[in-house]
Symmetry: none
Subunit: 210 residues, 4 copies
Amino acid sequence: MSADPQTPLRADAQRNRDQIIAAARAIFAEHGPEVPMEEIARAAGVGVGTLYRRFPDREALIRAVAVDNFTRVRDDARAASAEEPTCWSALVRLLYQSVDLQLSIQLAMLSIRAYEILREDPTIVALREDLLTEVESLVTGAQQEGHLRTDVGAGDVAMLFALLLRRIPSRKKHIAEMSTARNVAIMIDGLQSHPGTELPGHPLGRDDIH
Amino acid sequence: MSADPQTPLRADAQRNRDQIIAAARAIFAEHGPEVPMEEIARAAGVGVGTLYRRFPDREALIRAVAVDNFTRVRDDARAASAEEPTCWSALVRLLYQSVDLQLSIQLAMLSIRAYEILREDPTIVALREDLLTEVESLVTGAQQEGHLRTDVGAGDVAMLFALLLRRIPSRKKHIAEMSTARNVAIMIDGLQSHPGTELPGHPLGRDDIH
Amino acid sequence: MSADPQTPLRADAQRNRDQIIAAARAIFAEHGPEVPMEEIARAAGVGVGTLYRRFPDREALIRAVAVDNFTRVRDDARAASAEEPTCWSALVRLLYQSVDLQLSIQLAMLSIRAYEILREDPTIVALREDLLTEVESLVTGAQQEGHLRTDVGAGDVAMLFALLLRRIPSRKKHIAEMSTARNVAIMIDGLQSHPGTELPGHPLGRDDIH
Amino acid sequence: MSADPQTPLRADAQRNRDQIIAAARAIFAEHGPEVPMEEIARAAGVGVGTLYRRFPDREALIRAVAVDNFTRVRDDARAASAEEPTCWSALVRLLYQSVDLQLSIQLAMLSIRAYEILREDPTIVALREDLLTEVESLVTGAQQEGHLRTDVGAGDVAMLFALLLRRIPSRKKHIAEMSTARNVAIMIDGLQSHPGTELPGHPLGRDDIH
DNA sequence: GATGAATGAGCATTCATTCAT
DNA sequence: CATGAATGAATGCTCATTCAT
């Protein structure tokens, strides 16, 4: 009836759209993707009607939030890749950053339902491919640098990221954050090149984690 | 396991109770703690009424499943402690086992709602204390053995456990399991005594993670 | 299958039956006829099964309680009639007594549902007829004595009774009881022979109130 | 009437609200306050959802209906007070009118549950106070006029009202109405100043009936 | 016969989505 | 276009009644 991806939205409509995504981001991160649509609308300062005009159903909203997030992560990956002196340090930076990106792939990983929604979406699949390409090159590079253990693949790293995106509830926010940072550090140590445990199975590649 | 302040349940009733918990365990692990009660009843092969007779509401069921799971984890911890030659190997075994315990503390960690329900329950709080006591002694022991890095506390290990208890959805179950096992191995390497990254903050103790 | 009105119940079964009716009486009076059957069973100190063996469904129980009560009221009416010196004083005594009989016809008058159940029951219809016959003769007698205003019929008196059987909730039980007694007294004064308000309509007879 | 702290309702919403209250009034009067919400919605010509949007639960609906009714009774009392030549005739008119107000305080008096709900509601408590103030002044006035017996208080009159608000089920609506009118007349005669029965207890004041 | 467990239909309430204003 | 009202399907929970122990 109206969806015309070409026509750019009017300024105020675009503002609404952005507010909605921002609100949904925050609320999804806090309470998961099942919160009442009305609550999201309220948080965004609009009526439900407006929300539904912009996003025909919950799926569409989840998809939009996911696109928004994947884009950020991909851009972070590219930035890290471009700005850091070594692939290893780029990887390390990324892992730490993922802590702040909170929600991020969380949506994709958190609930079966969301996972299935996103798995189908071509935009998201494409973003994911981009991201994996970045990670893959960092992994290979860091292994050649001698920093990263050679028995891991890009898939392994992606999976570690995914673990970290999970916010563990805690009464003390401060502790929760510190704990995540510590976990990242432990993982980084576990990833470094050194004689350690032998990993079971085989290095996970991009295709393993689809 | 099931504390029995009243008359012990009739044989058939006990069987039903067990079936319900088993079904709820499986379904919670798969779909989270919000699945329709009716679905749980169906999976357990009973009517909703029966489910509600045994567990007056969803909270009660969540609590019961959690008690069941915490008990298993605690018992595993004790067994590992008793049977393994070193504290370190007991810890390692526990970490690997947690992979199989799936759900376990997952409930507690997964959804804010469940977390809040369980945080109040005295039985569960007690089980948690027991478990932390075990982990604490393993951590101290493994540090004295020289296997475990000394800048971590029982709280850090508990948090790592919690991360792993999150099942990451994947189309290929096989890969999902392998990935978790590999993640565990990487973490174990990250935990070993060796010059590595300096951890931010301070070692997390039992009180930090309440 | 078993209901054999002839075979007298075994002693213990009869005791159960009586306990159930007594419990139901009390609970119906307090909370109306919709209380859970289980609650009644508990108050009677038996299992639900026993309750249902004795009374195949709620209707049957309501009927039994009503029969029990109507019988008491009828017997009270007969006793008053036999023992009091005048018909008027017998009527007065009855009105006051109805206050104590609490529940009594309340069931019949209270809820549409109960009313319809009881209207069909031959035993109850018969008891009601007996009662009206008594009242009718008291009314006529009291009018001949010159105590009772002549523009009322047995139906009017029955309706006044019905009003009084309604327990008005109040925090202060003491006040509730006093108030009912005072209301009765006011009504009695209103019934006495004396030039007063002209009553609308016509004297209500037994057939008017069916 | 409907206090309007927020934005006034949209025209259609207000119409719905009124229809719902009217429907609830009628149905509560007929079947008591436990009827299925769906039935009320149907009678009001709206979906359940609409009903729940306006009244978050059954309690809220009961409260709203009660406010509506108490307001009418209070307004009737004021009108009678203003328009009738004597306090006595105002009282008499009120007693007769209460017959038509059917439901009115019935809700408050009928079921324990409703009673408890309403006892807490400040709006209703205030309305009740207003009403009692009116009645009190009529009672005093009528006593000074020499029409009303002096051994009754406003509380006694209120309790008589309450009795009359109880609709007695009957197959013949016509008779039921006539009977109530006759009962009122009898009570009025009972209330008139004349040597009659001595009332037990003491005159009930406004505080006695809380 | 008594008990209390099991069943499932029924009602309260919530929330995604549609549509009148 | 934005809003928030209306709808009704979905789901939690209760309770009358039946039936295994």
